[in-house]
Each structure stands twice: as C-alpha cells, then as structure tokens.
C-alpha cells in the first residue's frame, strides 16, 4: 500500500514537472529581450531553379510570411517578413505556420500600416524541451534506477563543466589544463560513484581511469611535441576565443574520459564478480581473464569513439567537396583534429586495460588481506 502511494506521488510529481515546464516555454516570450514573432500565414511567392559556379543544381524559394509580435512594445502588431530559402537548406530554412522567430522590426511601416522586418533566428526552446523529456522518459522507463542515476550524473557533470568554464573565463590567469584536470577528477568520481556505488570495484575503476587518462594525455603531448604538431590543422577549429592549442588539449582530456571510464568499470566489476564467485582463484588466473575481457571490448569501444568523432564532420566535408575543394586539403582541414582525438582516445582505452587489471588485483588483494 505504502509503495503504491509513494509511486503515485512520484508520478504526480513528474507529471507536474512536465506540465509546468511545457507551459513555461510556451509562454516565456516576455523573458526574451529580442523581439519574437509567431508566423500566422505563409505564402510561397516564387520558385527559382539555380545552379552555382560548381554546377550544383538547387531550388530557391521565396516565402512571404505574416506574423504577430509576441513581446516588446510592438506586442500584438502584425509584421510582414520575407524569407528566401533553398531546397538544400545548408544555412537557410523554410518556415511554417506556428513557428516562433526572432525578428528585428524596421523603423518604418509598409503602406498598409503593418510592420516589416528581418528574421534573425528561430526560437527552438519549445521543441528542445519536448525532446529533452522524451530522452528522460526513455532512460527512466528502460533504465529505472540506473536510468535516473545516468540522468542525474549527466546533469551534475554539465553543471560542473559550466561552473569550471565560468571560473576559467573569469580568471584568465588559471591554466585550462589544470581546470580540466580537476574536472576530470570530479567527473570520474561522480559518474562512477553514481553508476556503481562507492565500493572497492568503484575505487579500482576511478584510479584506473585517472591513471589511464593521464597516461594517454602524456603520450599525446609527447607525440605532439616531438612532431611539433605536424599534420594538425588548428585552423579548422571553430569558435575560438582562446589559445586554440590549449583548448584542443583540454578537449582531449574530457573527450576520452567517458570511454576510459567505461572500460575501467567493466574490467573492475567483472574481475570483482569473478573473485566473489570463487575466492580461491589465483591472481594469475584473475589477471588473464581480466586481460581477456579487456581484449574483447577494446575494439568496440575504440570504434564507438571513432565513429562519434569522425561523423560530426560529414556536413562540412560534403559542403567542401561540393565546392570542388581538393580531396587531400579537405580531409586534412576537416578531419585532422577529429582523427587525433579518436586516436588519443583509443590509446587511452588500450592503456587502461592493463592498468585496470592491475588496480583491480590490488584492491582484491587488499580485500583478501582484510578477511
């Protein structure tokens, strides 16, 4: 009876969270400084086939939008907007009735007394929220407790990273790598602690992760120094407001951490499980099966990392090739950093296997000595 009651409270609470958040993002126009208009009518004016200087064929469309201002001093007024977009939509977008757009209204009105203006961006928070909830529900329904823990540890990690970057931006004298190192420590302890509780196997995994990541970064730094960064095209890094090399290496720290944690916890929990099953198992047998497990998962986890990094560049590669850029230049400009990230991650993964096996054995021995 009591558990049913408790469950009901949880359901009501989640339902309320969803309701309140959805209501909020649908009515938060007044919290924005930028003027927002909601599209009420769309007329497709004309369609022009075109082809660019490389012979690529595309279609250009011209839309006439009627929208209503949702905030600011012009609230409630009708605004006329025009939108030009292409069928490929690399940097433009077709708009539909109901879309919320950020606009800049002109000072002057058109002859019929309506506002005119230009579109600057789309308001995406409503849709993002819904998808966020779908993600949370998928994890909760399938993962139950572990799903909840995954969400919580993810949220905490995001907060840590955000606070750490705030500190970094506020105190420029601090070294980004030191900050990333501290973040790494916190991320590891929190994520692994949440995934499997604070027991011997988690401690073993935490130590293996920290040692493995540090070792792989050390190798990466050594190689980069010996080759004086040859082959790395830092020009491809976008969004750069800081020394690019430092930011890239900071990213290396964080990027491979998840994969290394994955391998460390898999190794330590299976080795602890083997030990629990059979206390008489020799250390050599334990080490061999640990190495075996490591060999089995090494390939898959490296592949996860490779695919995750490389595929992010596909849109840029497509654009670049379609503009007739030479093959070698396109690849080195768009993939060198991603491939480096993936390789360093892979080195970290492989190194963590023996490190994880030996730390697990160390902790198992300690446990044995205590009995």
């Amino acid at each position: 009876m009591k558990s049913m009651y408790k469950r009901l409270i949880i359901y009501v609470f989640i339902f309320l969270c969803v309701g309140v958040s959805v209501f909020f993002v649908n009515n938060n126009y007044q919290f924005y400084d930028r003027p927002i208009a909601q599209v009420t009518e769309v007329v497709l004016e004309k369609t022009t086939p075109m082809s660019d200087r490389n012979g690529n064929k595309d279609l250009l469309y011209n839309q006439q939008l009627t929208a209503v201002m949702k905030n600011g001093t012009e609230k409630g007024q009708v605004i006329q907007l025009t939108n030009e977009y292409s069928a490929s939509g690399a940097y433009d977008q077709e708009y539909y009735v109901g879309n919320d757009l950020f606009v800049i209204p002109d000072k002057t009105m058109d002859p019929s007394g309506n506002l005119t203006g230009i579109i600057t961006d789309v308001k995406r928070d409503k849709q993002a929220l819904i998808i966020g909830w779908i993600f949370i529900f998928a994890l909760l329904i399938v993962g139950k407790r572990q799903g909840l823990f995954a969400i919580i540890s993810f949220a905490i990690n995001v907060i840590i990273l955000s606070v750490a970057l705030d500190i970094y931006v506020k105190y420029p004298s601090l070294n980004l790598l030191v900050i990333c190192g501290i973040c790494m420590l916190l991320f590891t302890v929190i994520s692994l602690g949440f995934v499997s509780g604070f027991t011997g196997k988690t401690y073993a995994a935490i130590i293996a992760t920290l040692v493995g990541t540090t070792a792989s970064i050390a190798i990466a730094l050594l190689v980069l120094r010996l080759t004086s960064d040859n082959g790395l095209r830092y020009e491809e890094m976008q969004f750069i407001t800081r020394p690019y090399r430092l930011v890239f290496i900071g990213g290396l720290f964080i990027g491979s951490l998840g994969a290394i944690m994955d391998i460390a916890i898999t190794l330590s929990s299976s080795m602890f499980a083997l030990y629990e099953k059979d206390h008489t198992l020799s250390m050599k047998a334990l080490r061999d099966s640990g190495m075996d497990i490591g060999r089995d998962i090494m390939g898959t986890i490296t592949n996860i990392l490779f695919l995750a990094y490389i595929c992010g560049s596909l849109p840029m590669l497509v654009l670049s090739f379609k503009n007739g850029t030479p093959l070698g230049f396109t690849f080195s400009m768009n993939l060198s950093l991603e491939v480096t990230r993936a390789l360093v991650g892979g080195i970290g993964i492989v190194l963590t296997i023996p490190i994880g096996v030996y730390t697990s054995i160390f902790f198992i021995n300690r446990k044995k000595a205590r009995i």
Binding site: M298, K322, V350, P354
Partner: protein
C-alpha cells in the same frame, strides 16, 4: 613527422602488445569503418541518392564489420545485428521528426566564418545529412549494447536452460541497465570534449541562456546527445525481447547447443 601517423603507430603498437591478434583485428576494423564512412561520403555527394537510405546501408555495413568481423557470425551476433537495425530504423524516424521541428540542419550562425567562401546551394538536402550524422555517430554505442545483452543472455540460457522466457527477458533488461549509464557517458564526454571550444565561446561572448538554448549549433549538439541516449535506451528492450523469443522458440531446444 606527421603527428597523426605517429599516434596511429602508437595505437597499433599498444593494441598488438595488449590484444595480440585480437588487437590487430580491432585496429583493422577501425580502418574498415573509416572506409565505409568515406564511401558513404562519396555517395552522399550525388544529389540523386537519398542520404537516409545510404546511411541505412552504411549502418548495416558498419554493423557487419563490428559484429561479424571482430566477433564472428553466430546466432549471438546475428541477433545483435537484427536488433541494431530495428533500433536504427525507429531512431531514423524519431531523428527525422526532431531535426525537422527543431530546424537544426546545416550550419549555424557561429559557423559563418568556416563556410564563408563556399557556395551553399549545392542541391543536397542538409536535413537528411544531419540525420545521417546522428545515426552514424551513435551506431557504435547501440551495437555495443546489443552485443553485450545478446552474449550475456546466451550465457545465462546455456548455464541455466530451465530459465523461463520472462526471466530471460528480465535478465537482458537488467544487463542493459548496467551498461546504459556507461555507454551514454562515453558519448556525452566525447561530445563535450569535441565542443569544449564552443562552450568556452558561449561563455566568453556572454551568451544568455536564452541565446544558447535557441542557437542552432547548440540545439543540434544537444539533439545529438539526446538522440544518442534515446537510441541506447531503445536498443535494450528490443534486443532483450528478440533474444528471449529466439532462445525460447518452441522446438528449438535440441537443435542449438
């Protein structure tokens, strides 16, 4: 000396040292997957081919490499493969819907510098390219979950043949739950690390929360993470269900041992 070449040699050396033959295989599978991505890329440049169908075929190929080449063809890997493809199909529909409503295809305002000088009217639907990116970025993790669940369920059925279908399904779900957290973590941190520069940029240019949430580039990164997590969650019940039904198929007990 080229840093990438040196790092590749270091990786190959370590994989050989620690993994032996299996390490060599793992290293080689990275190259094969690279090859699949590049062929997919070459085909994506043809405006007459549908990027979504290409992605589906590429996923199947990557699945074959990771499941049948690193492991081998047996009922475990076949089931993991089928489950992965079903999940990918469902996820494709979901991502299509997501990208369309969020309008996150192509490049964001923050990327104008990188795309300046290029003609943007190249006749290839960037919405579909965006869908391909999300699917191909997450397929590795989805497959990993599928194969882990399939092998553990086979082991359980082997050691304990009297286990019921329902128990088998439950055990698959519970194994899935254990890896759900670590696999989503792997992807989260990979994306965080890749976008550290963007996050610092947001902080340096003092973007407000409203500006960050609504910007195209952030939304698309967020969607990548959320869709990856949803995909990993989705593959767990699918694999458990297919596997439980396969292992407890009436009249199958004797033929498979």
């Amino acid at each position: 000396m080229n840093a990438i070449v040196v790092l590749s040699v270091v990786l190959l050396g370590l994989m050989l040292l620690i993994g032996g033959r299996k390490g060599l295989r793992s290293f080689f599978s990275l190259f094969l997957n690279f090859g699949v991505i590049f062929i997919t890329l070459a085909l994506l440049l043809n405006p007459d081919l549908n990027p979504v169908i290409l992605t589906f075929i590429a996923s199947a190929l990557i699945g074959c490499i990771s499941l049948f080449f690193i492991n081998e063809v047996n009922s475990k890997t076949v089931i993991a493969f089928i489950s992965t493809m079903i999940t990918i199909t469902l996820l494709l529909a979901f991502i299509f819907f997501v990208s369309n409503t969020l309008m996150i295809q192509g490049f964001g305002e923050e990327e104008t510098e990188a795309i300046s000088g290029y003609s943007l009217y190249i006749g290839i639907d960037f919405l579909k390219i965006g869908v391909s990116v999300i699917i191909l970025s997450t397929i590795g993790a989805i497959m990993d979950v599928a194969i882990s669940i399939a092998s553990s369920m086979f082991e359980m059925n082997k050691h304990n043949p009297s286990v019921s279908k329902k128990e088998l399904f439950a055990s698959g779900m519970s194994i899935g739950r254990d890896i759900l957290g670590t696999d989503t973590n792997t992807l989260f941190f990979a994306f965080f690390g890749g976008y550290l520069a963007l996050l610092i940029w947001f902080k340096d240019l003092t973007y407000s929360i409203g500006e960050i949430v609504n910007s195209k580039i952030f939304s698309s990164e967020l969607m990548l993470i959320l869709c990856a997590g949803t995909g990993i969650a989705l593959v767990i019940p699918i694999t458990s269900w297919i596997n439980a039904n396969y292992l407890k198929k009436p009249g199958k007990m004797k033929s498979d041992s």
